[in-house]
């Protein structure tokens, strides 16, 4: 699974993207966030207010209770500030 990060989520985690083999116990986005938090202080910092972090699966916005299914790419980023 390709995970990509943007803005301060990227800065806190320390890499723009990575490949991860996800365990079968991960069903929804919130499970994945919980699992990532267990991988180090950088992840814990990025997701310290997990509810503010937005998520996209295969480049479409999804809520934290969205199933991961056969996703190819999951992105994590702060609320957007374009325009």
């Amino acid at each position: 699974m390709k995970l990509v990060y943007f803005s301060w989520v990227r800065e806190r985690i320390g890499v723009p993207e990575e490949e991860r083999d996800l365990p079968d116990s991960i069903h929804i986005v919130a499970d994945l966030i919980e699992w990532l938090i267990g991988h180090g202080e950088n992840y814990a910092y990025a997701f310290e207010n997990a509810q503010t972090v937005r998520v996209a699966i295969d480049k479409k916005h999804v809520p934290h209770d969205a199933p991961i299914g056969n996703a190819r790419e999951i992105a994590f980023f702060p609320p957007m500030t374009g325009g």
């Binding site: 943007f6 803005s7 996209a56 480049k59 479409k60 992105a75 609320p79 500030t81 374009g82 325009g83």
Partner: protein, 152 residues
């Protein structure tokens, strides 16, 4: 079909209006344009640096334009959003909407900007005049409120 462009280069507003007028044809009675500019915040900033999610930025802006095209009778839509380092006074985003009458064009342009602010994957980082590390611009609750006006 909307013309969606995500680029680092500056855009030419006059050229885009001319292009749209040609494309929209002689039954088009109104072209509305909106240009979002980089502010200096009273001299505090030397630039804004826009990060974006390549691929999703174009797709999401396309979804936004499609919603507007389904909701209003539009002849043409162009949205150009820049990324990279942008200095005060330069354009960040350009929205053009053509329609037979101005009401639909104004409304659709405002709707797309409200939607784009909260849904298009771009993030602004400040570059400060005083040399200190700039921070990421925080999203405003007022942008969510603005979007809420269109949900009825």
């Amino acid at each position: 079909m909307a013309r969606i462009i995500v680029q680092s280069a500056a855009f030419d507003i006059a050229a885009e209006i001319t292009r749209m007028a040609d494309e929209a044809g002689t039954d088009c009675g109104a072209i509305v344009t909106f240009t979002g500019l980089c502010r200096s915040e009273k001299g505090a900033l030397t630039a804004l640096e826009l990060e974006h999610y390549p691929g999703m930025a174009e797709e999401e802006i396309g979804r936004i334009a499609k919603i507007a095209e389904d909701r209003w009778p539009l002849d043409a839509v162009t949205i150009i959003h820049r990324y990279g380092k942008i200095t005060p006074g330069e354009g960040i985003v350009l929205v053009l909407v053509a329609s037979a009458h101005r009401a639909a064009a104004f409304e659709a342009a405002e709707f797309m900007m409200d939607y784009l602010k909260t849904h298009a994957p771009f993030w602004k980082k400040e570059h400060r005049t005083d040399g200190q590390e700039g921070s990421w611009v925080e999203a405003h609750n007022r942008d969510d409120v603005a979007l809420g006006r269109w949900q009825d």
